[in-house]
Amino acid sequence: MNMRVQDLTVARGGVAVLEGVSFELGARRALILRGPNGIGKTTLLRTLAGLQPAVAGRIDVEPDAVAYAAHADGIKAVLSVRENLAFWANAYGGRDVGAALTAMNLDDLAERRAANLSAGQKRRLGLARLLVTGRKVWMMDEPTVSLDTASVALFAGVVRAHLAAGGSALIATHIDLGIEAEVLDLAPFKARAPVAGGQMGAFDEAFE
C-alpha cells in the first residue's frame, strides 16, 4: 500500500472545497482524479504533497515516497535542459539524467537553454523531473497540458513503466491518457456549503 487517504477535507482560501475524500493507492496502481474545473483537484494534490495542511482526515504515506509535479514546471530559463534536470537529480540524491532525457525524448534538446523551448517541450522537461526523483508515488497535476498526441503517448509509456517497476501514480487530468487506471470522480466529494452542514475554517467554527 503506497498511500492511504481517509475522510480527507481540504480547503482553499479558508473555505473547504472537498470533504470526505478516501482512497487507497497500491503499488503498480494508478489513480486518475477527475472532476470539472474548480472542483479542487489542485488543492487536494497540494495537500497530499504536504504543501498545505488538511482540515480534517488522515493521509498515510511512507515518508519520502512522494514526488509532486505542479501546474508550473519550475524550469530555470537560463539553464540548459540538462542543467535543469541535473539540479533536481542532485536534490533527490544524484540519479543519472541521461535515462530521463531519453525517456522524454529530450536528447536533441539537452544543451538548449530552457528559455528557447516551446510550451510542449518545457512540459516534457517538467515531467522528466519525476524520473530523476526516484520516488515511488508520483502526483501529477494536469501533466499533459500543451503536449501533442505523440508526447502524450510517450508520457503514458513512461508512467506505465513506472507502475511496472512497483511505483504508483496519482494523476489529475481532463483528457484520456490511455493508461489502465482506476478513476476517482471528485464531484461527489464537493464540500457542502456551511449552511448545509459543511465545514468552515476552524476560526469560523469557533463562533458557533
Binding site: R46, Q52, P53, K76, E83, Y92
Partner: protein, 218 residues
Amino acid sequence: MRSLLRRDLWLAVRAGGGFGLGLAFFLLVAVIVPLGVGPEPATLAKIAPGILWVGALLSCLLSLDRIFALDFEDGSLDLLATSPMPMEAVVAIKSLAHWLVTGLPLVAVSPVLGLLLNLAPEGYIWLIVSLALGTPALSVIGAFGAALTVGLKRGGLLLSLLVLPLYMPTLIFGAEVVKRGAQGLAVGTPLALLAAITAGSLALLPFAAAAAIRVNLR
C-alpha cells in the same frame, strides 16, 4: 545542497551579471551622494563611513526580492519544498549565495569608494573588517524579509520596509566601527556588537525564514 549553491551562483552570474551589478550600484550610491551633498572634502570625509555603509545596505536590499521570488514564480519553490532538502538548508544556502554575489564583492571594492568619498586613511582597514563582518547579517536578514514577502506582488517595497528596520543595528554598529577607526579611536565595543548581531542572525533567522516560506506556500 552543493548543487543548489552552484545553481544559484550560476543563475546570478548568467542572468545579467550578478556580481558586476551589485557592485555598480554600490559605486553609484557613492557617486550620487557627493553629487547631492556637494563636493567639500571635509564634509564628505565626515559622512563617508555612514554613507558607505548605507550604500552597502541599499545595494544588498535591491537584490533581495530575487532571493526567493524567482523560484516562487516559476514554481521551483513548491518543488523544493516537497524535495528532500530541508527548507532551513534551502534558506541558508540561498543566503550564502546572495552574500557571495553581493556582500563579498562589496567588501572587496569598498576601499576604492572610500577614496571617492575622501575617507580618512586610518578608516580603510576598519571599513573592510566591518563590512566583512556585517554583510553576512545583511544577507540572512534580507532572506528572512524575502521569505516573509515571497507570495506578494509588488513585494519589493514592502520587503524594504520590513528589512530596513532590521538592518539598523548592523548599520549603526558597522558605521560606528568605521567612524571610530577613521578617527583612530578604539573600535572594540561596536565590533563585538556587530559580530554578535551577525552570529545571532545566522543562527536563528534561517529557521524563521523557513517557517515563513512554508506558510506562504500554502
